[in-house]
């Protein structure tokens, strides 16, 4: 489904994503993610890359998909999931370019990405979004169903397929190479109070 632009400027997106969807997302956009996404974090990424190296089929085809870096708490009886906010994305930097090469289109995590990932997002027309770090309780309410589809033995690090409804995130790195974090901090930095090495010029 195509990207919907809401009256307040937020963009509602539906996973899986097409390249055309990704091109409509810009650094700083607030997005509401809908559809099917895949939860995977450190240990699952390590295994996915080992499977790719061994030429084995992956538990899901990343082409067009959105991966959410999360390891939820166990769900209480009657609940879909436990707390489920994003984990630090940069730990996945070593693995991410490989997944982008085979078509991964979107990532949800928290924190910044290194230059290799920013470059790969640009090269493969994909987007990195951040959700509220430390907002696991709120995030849980936007997840409507979930099931483990691979690596159950990894416990909280198993791969899960999730249905999400208006899951909020903001675009940090878009497919044009923009890095939102590089833009947000600059105007607020008070150079006069800081040592030389931490001063930021007014313009990049």
């Amino acid at each position: 489904m195509p990207v919907e632009v809401l009256d307040d400027g937020r963009k509602r997106i539906y996973a899986p994503l097409s390249e055309d969807d990704v091109r409509q997302l810009e650094a700083g956009d607030v997005v509401l993610v809908n559809g099917t996404i895949f939860a995977a974090r450190d240990a699952a990424h390590k295994r996915l890359i080992e499977m790719l190296d061994a030429g084995e089929p992956l538990p899901f085809d990343p082409a067009g998909q959105v991966v959410f870096y999360v390891g939820p708490t166990p769900e209480r009886p009657g609940k879909v999931i436990g707390s489920a906010g994003p984990t630090t994305a940069s730990r996945m930097d070593a693995y991410t370019p490989r997944l982008l090469e085979i078509g991964l289109k979107g990532i949800i995590g928290k924190g910044g990405r290194g230059p290799s990932v920013r470059e790969a997002l640009k090269r493969h027309t994909a987007v990195y979004m951040a959700a509220l770090g430390g907002g696991g309780a709120l995030a849980a309410l936007r997840i409507k169903s979930q099931k483990v589809i691979a690596f159950e033995e990894l416990g909280p690090e198993a791969i899960r397929e999730m249905q999400v409804e208006d899951f909020p995130a903001w675009v940090v790195n878009d497919c044009l190479g923009r890095d939102f974090y590089a833009e947000t901090v600059r105007p607020w930095r008070k150079n006069e109070l800081l040592p030389q090495e931490l001063r930021l010029p007014a313009e990049p």
């Binding site: 390891g71 436990g82 770090g133």
Partner: protein, 284 residues
């Protein structure tokens, strides 16, 4: 010397279990206040929006269905054991770990510990072992402080053996650089724990212990309190803001602890805590 008082290991287990559950759902009043104050002081509209969400998350978690954060932490346990106490019924560390095991199971908390760091990295399945710091102190009580420490912010910790010539300015620059480099990854706004002095390992523990202080309570030494105030202002001058979306509230507090050190040394350690600061205390 006082009379020897017996404390049942089971009581310690029970207290640890309760604390693990309590702190992961219900944020302390002081953290509620600290975030509210940051919300009022934040100049960036985007930053205020983020802090509104943080407050909502605090409120939702306090209802007891969903932990504050999915990273329910490694369990750090500070034990002050009175020297007149005799612990009976089990080994002290086993009693603590049993409390963690039960707390994480009964509280639907995440098991976030792997059994070894580089070989198999297999999840231990019950969040044990806890990281336990025990002191023998005067008296006949056992004081237990539990901290659920998130891995994302813990990863942004920094430690250095500076030269004495680097002095106070060197310490300040090191702290600011650590906070700047942590950027969005440590889920700001949080608390910055700083240890200065001691030796290599004492310095790191000092930084961690400083986080256990009441949020924003100044160090009783006025010179250190002044340093805390200056670092607080300068950390916020970094402009990182809530979730690094830019703003004036990058940290909620800076806590500094110092201790004597070697004539050749100036150790400094920075232990960063995210806005999910979860700690609680029981005295038996």
């Amino acid at each position: 010397m006082g009379e020897v008082r017996e404390v049942a290991a089971a009581e310690i287990t029970g207290a640890v279990r309760e604390l693990c559950i309590e702190i992961n759902y219900k944020v302390s009043d002081e953290m509620v206040e600290a975030v509210k104050r940051a919300r009022d002081d934040e100049e960036s509209p985007l930053g205020r929006q983020v802090l509104d969400l943080v407050i909502k998350n605090q409120e939702l978690a306090a209802e007891g269905e969903y932990p504050y954060c999915q990273d329910t932490g490694s369990t750090v346990v500070f034990l002050d054991v009175g020297q007149d106490v005799h612990i009976v019924g089990a080994d002290l560390e086993d009693a603590v770990n049993e409390g963690v095991r039960r707390g994480y199971r009964d509280g639907y908390l995440r098991s976030s510990i792997v059994g070894d760091p580089v070989f198999e990295r297999k999840n231990t399945g019950d969040n044990t072992p806890a990281f336990i710091h025990t002191r023998i102190v005067p008296g006949d009580q056992v004081r237990i402080q539990v901290d659920a420490k998130g891995g994302g912010s813990e990863n942004k910790g920094r430690h250095a053996m500076l030269k004495p010539a680097d002095g106070l300015e060197g310490v300040k620059a090191f702290v600011l650089k650590a906070v700047a480099e942590a950027g969005p990854d440590a889920c700001p706004p949080g608390i910055i724990g700083v240890g200065v002095g001691g030796n290599f390992e004492y310095c790191a523990v000092l930084a961690k212990r400083s986080l256990m202080r009441k949020v924003g309570q100044p160090n009783p030494d006025p010179r250190i309190a002044e340093l805390e105030a200056e670092l607080f202002e300068k950390c916020n001058a970094l402009g990182i803001g809530p979730q690094s979306l830019g703003g004036t509230q990058t940290v909620l507090a800076v806590h500094v602890e110092m201790m004597p050190t070697h004539i050749a040394s100036l150790p400094v350690a920075v232990n960063i805590e995210c806005h999910a600061h979860r700690t609680g205390t029981r005295v038996i």
